[in-house]
Symmetry: none
Subunit: 400 residues, 2 copies
Amino acid sequence: MENNILRDLVQKNSSRIVLLVIDGLGGLPINGKTELEAAKTPNLDRLASKGSCGLSEAVAPGITPGSGPAHLALFGYDPIKYQIGRGVLEALGIGEELEPSDLAARGNFANIDEEGIITDRRAGRISTARNKELCVLLQKKISALEEVKLSFKAVKEHRCVVLLKGKDLVEGISDTDPQKEGEKTKEAIPLIKEAKKTASLVNKLTKRINEVLKGEASANTVLLRGISKIPHLPSFQEKYLLRSACIATYPMYRGLAKLVGMEILPTGETIKDEIETLKENFQNYDFFYLHIKKGDSYGEDGNFEKKVFVIEEVDTFIPEIEQLHPDVLVITGDHSTPSLLKGHSWHPNPFLLLSKNCLPDNLSNFSERSCCQGSLGKFPATQAMVLMLANSLRLKKFGA
Amino acid sequence: MENNILRDLVQKNSSRIVLLVIDGLGGLPINGKTELEAAKTPNLDRLASKGSCGLSEAVAPGITPGSGPAHLALFGYDPIKYQIGRGVLEALGIGEELEPSDLAARGNFANIDEEGIITDRRAGRISTARNKELCVLLQKKISALEEVKLSFKAVKEHRCVVLLKGKDLVEGISDTDPQKEGEKTKEAIPLIKEAKKTASLVNKLTKRINEVLKGEASANTVLLRGISKIPHLPSFQEKYLLRSACIATYPMYRGLAKLVGMEILPTGETIKDEIETLKENFQNYDFFYLHIKKGDSYGEDGNFEKKVFVIEEVDTFIPEIEQLHPDVLVITGDHSTPSLLKGHSWHPNPFLLLSKNCLPDNLSNFSERSCCQGSLGKFPATQAMVLMLANSLRLKKFGA
C-alpha cells in the first residue's frame, strides 16, 4: 500500500491492536510434524477456527530474511527500500541508543602480521571478557578523533561495535574488513563524494587502533564493516496514527521498534513478565508489539523439543491476552527458523488474525500447513499492518 | 526479486537442480477430468505428497504466453522486460545460431499484383517443398547486399526466415508486412535514428527479392516482420552462479536456453534419450533444464488421449530422475495447453518442488486442482528460480 494513499485513509478510534510475534515461528517437519504441529496448542487452535489465517512472506519468495528486514516488513515498511546497516543493527542489539547523526560500525577484533596481512579475522574468537578489556583500553586511549566522540562496545567473543558521534558524519563509505584472511585491511573509500571526510576519519581511526593494540597478543586490530546510520522511517504515529508500544526482552527488537517510533515498555525476562507488562499498559496505547524471542533461539540451536515447548508456553498465555479483549489480535512469526535447518529460512510465516470483523476460516488447528488453506492466502508481510488497521476499523473507504 | 539484490545473496555449492518442463502441461477437463487428472501418474502423485506445490503464472493472470515468454519467465527473466522478436524466435525454432550482431526477420512468401497490391499474404500456403526451392533461388541470387550476408531459410508452408549478418545492423525498424491484403508492401521505417541505414537496406532487399521472384507463379514477394536481434540477457552463470545445461529435442527450446547461457547437450528424439543424457551429464553441471515437447503438441492438436499418454510416459521416467538424487527437482509446465482449447492458454501451471528443505504439502495427487491447495500458492513463474536456489541452499540471508 502506498504511503500517500494510506495516509488519506487512516483514522483514529479507541480500538486496541496486539501483534504477537513468536520469533522464528515457522518450521519444517521432523518425523512428519513441524514444531507448531507437534506442539499442544489448544488455545491457538481454537483461535485458528475463529480467525482468518494465511502465510506471510517478509521479503520475497525464496528469500531468507534477517531479523531487521523481517520486522520492518511486519511493521509495514518495505525491507528492500529501508535497509538497516549491519553496524546499526549490531548497536541496537546491545541496546545502544542512536541519534540520527551517529554512525555505527560492526567491528571484528582480528590479528594482522608485521606487514599488515590479516592472519585471523576473528582473533581466535577471543573471550567476551578479553573483548571487554580491549574495548576499555581503546576507549581510554581513543575517546575522540577530530571532534568526533568515539565509543567502543563489546558484543560477544570477537564482535564489537564502534560508535561515532559528531557533526557532519556521512553514511556511504566502504568496509575496512576485506572479509578474507591473507589480505591487508582495506582503506575505507567514500562511495559518495560527501563521504570523503568521514572515510578519511575512519582510516585515521584504524591507524590509531593499530597503534593502541600494537603488541597485544590476543588481537592487534579491529576490522570495520556496515558503517551506517539509522534509516529515517516515518513513525507509527505519522504513518498509522497509532500510539504504539513495544514489549520485548531482547535489545535488538526494542531497537527496531524504536526506529519506527514505538515506546519501549520496561519488562522482565519471561513471557509471563511480558504479558504482565501488556496488561498494565493496555489502556495507554492503541498498538502493542509483543515479541517472544525463544522460538527463534531454539530453532537456531536445532532444538526441536525446546522450540515446541516455547510454543506450548506461549499457548498457555493466550487466554490472558484474550481477556483483555483486543479488537485485533495477530499471532505470527517474523520469519521461519526450522530446527531442521538450524537457522532462519525462506518459508512463509503462519499468520492468524482475530477480530470481530474477520472471516472465520474454521480451520481445525494453527500450523504452517493449515494456514495454506486460510482466507488470507499467501501475502507479503508488508500488508499485515493494513489488515490490522482494517480489522480495527481504522481505515476509511477508498474512493466513493 | 531485483537482480542486484539477488546478486548479493547468491552463492555456489555442490547441489544439483533439475527443472523438468512438460510443455503445455496444464489442461481443462473433458468429461470431468483434465489430462493430468485423467493420466495414471503414481510417481508424480507420490512426489506431490512429499513436495511443495502451487500454481505458477508466466506473464500475468489471464495472459496466454507464447513459448518464448513462458520459458523466459521460468528461467527468471521478466518476460515483459525481455521481449524476443518474432524473427529471432522463428530462427531459433529452426535451429539457427544467431550472433548478437545478426538481424533475423520472419518472412511470408506472398503474392502481389502488377501494381504491388498484396493479393495473398500466404501465397496460397505453398508447399514446404516449393518454399525450399524459392529459398534456394533467393540464396543463389541475393547472397549479399552492401556487405551484409543474407540467408534465406525455409520453415513450413509459406513461412521463412531471412537472416542478415554484417556490421552495424541496427534493431528498430518497422515491418514491411502490412498484415492485410489489398494494400501495398510497406516501406521499412527506422523507429530510431540509428536504424536509418538498416531500414534502407531492408527496403533494397525487398526490391531485389521482387526482381528475383518476378514472374514466379507460386509466390512473387516476401513480406517481412519482427526484424530483430537476440536480446541481451544476463546468463545463468552471471545471475545465479550456475553451470547450466539444456536437454531438449526441439530447436526452439535449445535456442531459448542458449540465450540464457546454458550449454546445449546433444540428445536423441525420445524422452528415454533425454533421461539418458541427464544421467550421463549429471555430475558436470549444477542445473539441468529438461524439456518434454509432446505434451504441448498433442494439446495443440486437441488430442486429449495422446496428451494423457505423454504425461503417463513422463511419469514412468520419474524414478530414474529420483535415483540421481537431485537436491531440488521441479516439475511444471511452461504454459497450459488444454486439448479443449487446441492452443496455449492463460491457465496457471501445476508446479511441484521437491527438496529435503521444502514443506511437504501431503497432497494426494499432482494436478491443476490439487496444486491450488499447495503451500506455494499461486505465484509468478519468474519466482521459480529463486525458490529453486533457496531450496538448494544457494542463497544467503538478506540483511542481519
